[in-house]
């Protein structure tokens, strides 16, 4: 049921398209049945529209797992008592259903049509005898052909297909717990499975190698992270009730059933719809849609929230139309497009994250900054970040204090950025990889090329804020690489000729 999840560099789960984070709670432990799961004692739990994801705080790369909400068959809430923390129980089997995991294989995942769906169901309800390789029905506990007991570690999701063209279905069929270690085998499927021991190419449906009897696939159910068919989430920091409510919503909304919005290619040219009348009709249609959105949006706050994304897009498109006419902007086209792609991925809110808000904000910010702070010295003043970050979010703007709190968490969360406060009081965010030496070198080159520079001149050369450049200049000066010249015109910086100047004197 639970499978490992991929994490981003900032240790947040990688979301699939159309998936959104609904709630986040920290310090949650997992129970395998009624036992504490040793590897999953404390971590952040993300509720998304598709999944429940546990990200371990100790070893996030190894011990982060997730489960798809559609697989959850039942839920229970325990409010907690004295020292026992509130818990949410996730049940993965119906009481009236036997334990075959195949029953959980919701068809939506792999079946585009009803025919494959039924086909898949028949597929999944078979198991293969390890002795005689006979395909048995899942209800049978003994092999129909040879009478050998069905091995426990063999669930019916073992390669059962008799149709070789179904490799796509097959691979998805086994996704639940094989993806992680069996990719190469699947790739080989079309022309046989290479034995890991003797490299003999076996027929795809063999379980043991024909030559050396070695197992071709490890299919132990032990790979299943939890033995029991229900898992408890213990909320040690509270937040259970809110999480439970959100989970109920998510289960009812069935976000995974919504078609993933894809950028459709422009429809084929239709002569009837062509010409000016076609364009006009299109424009009319678009206008109607937009009106509808607007009407919906402002009916009440709740629905405004749910279609925020559309609203932002609408606003964006209007903005685009306007900016097209006055296409004079400082940023390069590349920058703008890159900026826009980041745009809609942002937007963690206090609502979703609760007590983990600042941590999540820090992670989101770190992901954002990775794209923004790529050029040269990877340093940006906090005020600049505040502007650009809020601009990118579009909605659900954050407050300066929230930004500062989030930035101060960078170090604790092991994110590749640091908040740095200069003596002047200026706060900047810089990447860990950033080095003062690099900055010094670049500043020095600029100054050498011009003879002398003021902070303002350098700032305009480098397209940076003057306060930041000022700090950098002072840092370089402190290294003894440049020296200053104070006059009525202000401070100008020169290459440091003084420090190495030797004068023998005149006698």
């Amino acid at each position: 049921m639970f499978i490992k999840v991929d994490l981003t560099s900032t240790l947040r789960p990688v979301l699939v398209e159309g998936e959104t984070i609904l709630a986040i709670q920290d310090n949650v432990g997992l129970y395998d049945g009624n036992e504490k799961a040793a590897k999953y004692m404390s971590g952040n739990v993300y509720l998304t529209s598709h999944r429940i994801i546990y990200v371990d705080s100790e070893r996030p790369k190894d011990n982060s797992i997730g489960v798809e909400i559609r697989l959850i068959k039942g839920r229970e809430f325990y409010a907690g008592f004295v020292k026992s923390s509130p818990k949410i129980t996730l049940k993965f089997s119906d009481s009236n259903n036997n334990l075959s995991p195949s029953s959980n294989n919701n068809p939506y995942l792999s079946s585009p049509s009803a025919s494959t769906l039924s086909f898949q169901n028949t597929l999944s309800s078979t198991w293969i005898c390890t002795i005689c390789s006979f395909s048995n029905k899942s209800q049978n506990t003994k092999c129909q052909l040879c009478g050998v007991k069905r091995p426990e570690n063999l669930n019916s999701s073992t390669p059962p297909s008799s149709i070789s063209s179904s490799s796509g279905i097959f691979s998805q069929h086994t996704t639940t717990h094989q993806d992680s270690h069996d990719n190469n085998v699947e790739a080989d499927e079309s022309d046989g499975i290479a034995c890991p021991q003797c490299t003999f190419l076996n027929h795809p449906y063999m379980i043991n190698c024909e030559m050396c009897e070695a197992k071709l696939k490890t299919l132990d159910i032990d790979d299943e992270i939890f033995k029991e068919d229900f898992v408890k989430l213990a909320f040690r920091n509270g937040g259970a009730i809110a999480f439970y409510d959100k989970m109920k919503q998510a289960m009812n909304m069935k976000g995974w059933e919504k078609p993933v919005e894809s950028t459709k290619p422009p429809a084929d040219f239709d002569p009837v719809r062509g010409g000016i009348s076609g364009i006009m009709r299109n424009a009319e249609k678009n206008k109607k849609e937009q009106d509808e959105y607007l009407n919906q949006a402002f009916k009440d706050m709740e629905s405004l929230k749910t279609i925020t994304e559309e609203m932002v897009k609408l606003a964006q498109s209007i903005n685009n139309r306007l900016s097209k006419e006055s296409a004079e902007s400082g940023a390069s086209a590349d920058e703008i497009t890159a900026f826009k792609t980041d745009l809609f991925k942002l937007g963690i809110t206090k609502d979703e994250a609760g007590s983990t808000y600042h941590q999540e904000l820090a992670r989101e910010l770190a992901e954002f900054l990775e794209n923004v702070l790529v050029k040269d010295d990877k340093m940006m003043s906090l005020t600049d970040i505040y502007c650009i970050f809020n601009k990118a979010r579009g909605v659900a703007l954050i407050s300066p204090s929230d930004l500062q709190k989030a930035c101060s968490l960078f170090e604790r969360l092991n994110l590749p950025f640091r908040l740095r406060k200069f003596e002047s009081g200026l706060s900047v965010v810089q990447s860990v990889a950033h080095s003062d030496d690099q900055i010094a070198q670049r500043v020095l080159e600029c100054i050498r090329s011009k003879g002398s520079l003021s902070a303002i001149e350098l700032a305009s050369m480098e397209q940076k804020s003057v306060v930041l450049v000022n700090e950098q200049l002072q840092m370089v000066e402190a290294k003894g690489l440049i020296c200053r010249d104070e006059s009525v015109e202000g401070i100008r910086y020169y290459d440091n000729l003084i420090i190495n100047y030797v004068w023998k004197g005149i006698n």
């Binding site: 020296c483 200053r484 100008r492 440091n496 000729l497 003084i498 420090i499 100047y501 004068w503």
Partner: protein, 188 residues
């Protein structure tokens, strides 16, 4: 007072605008102060000057840059900081010590002056005879020697050193100029 032959030639750093700003970076400032003190010492030796009146000298070419449209002038506090480092090294002395507006510049240390004077006494055969202080600094026999025209404060310091070494004795006169010095003709 100056003509072109006699003018002091400054090092190129003297034309460097930041040289006139007190550098906040410690390492830079140390070398800056050292360079300034060298220039001040050379300048004073060149012009046979013994005293530096700070506010007055700030208007001299020593502490001013005026070339190619760039005008820079050393600030008083910067100069004071420079003299402070010179005092620390023993190449200058605040006079009077309580105020930082005038300083004696020791382009030769008082010990060196003392040796020069003693050597002059030995060479001119004035051992065991008494000479006045005025004679040493301004007398005809001392003309052409380096200490001719020596500042009186420095001269007295040099003589004090000789007295301490036991090669001279001072006889008080009515004024400083009338003071007599008897050299014993011993090599200091």
């Amino acid at each position: 007072m100056e003509n072109s032959e006699n003018s002091f030639s400054f090092p190129s750093i003297h034309n460097f605008p930041p040289f006139y700003t007190l550098q906040p970076t410690q390492t830079t400032w140390q070398n800056q102060a050292a360079l300034w003190s060298e220039i001040i010492l050379s300048y004073h030796r060149h012009h046979k000057l013994y005293r530096l009146d700070l506010s007055e000298s700030l208007n001299s070419d020593l502490f001013n840059l005026n070339s190619q449209g760039i005008r820079r002038k050393l600030k008083l506090d910067t100069l004071q900081a420079i003299i402070d480092t010179m005092v620390y090294r023993g190449t200058a002395e605040w006079d009077p010590p309580s105020k930082k507006d005038s300083a004696i510049i020791y382009w030769r240390k008082p010990e060196d002056w003392a040796n020069l004077i003693n050597n002059w006494v030995l060479e001119t055969g004035m051992s065991n005879s008494i000479v006045t202080v005025y004679e040493i600094a301004h007398g005809d026999s001392a003309e052409g020697f380096e200490f001719h025209g020596l500042d009186q404060t420095i001269l007295m310091k040099a003589l004090d050193i000789l007295v301490k070494k036991g090669v001279a004795q001072i006889f008080q006169g009515t004024s400083t100029d009338d003071m007599g010095v008897k050299f014993f003709g011993v090599n200091g």
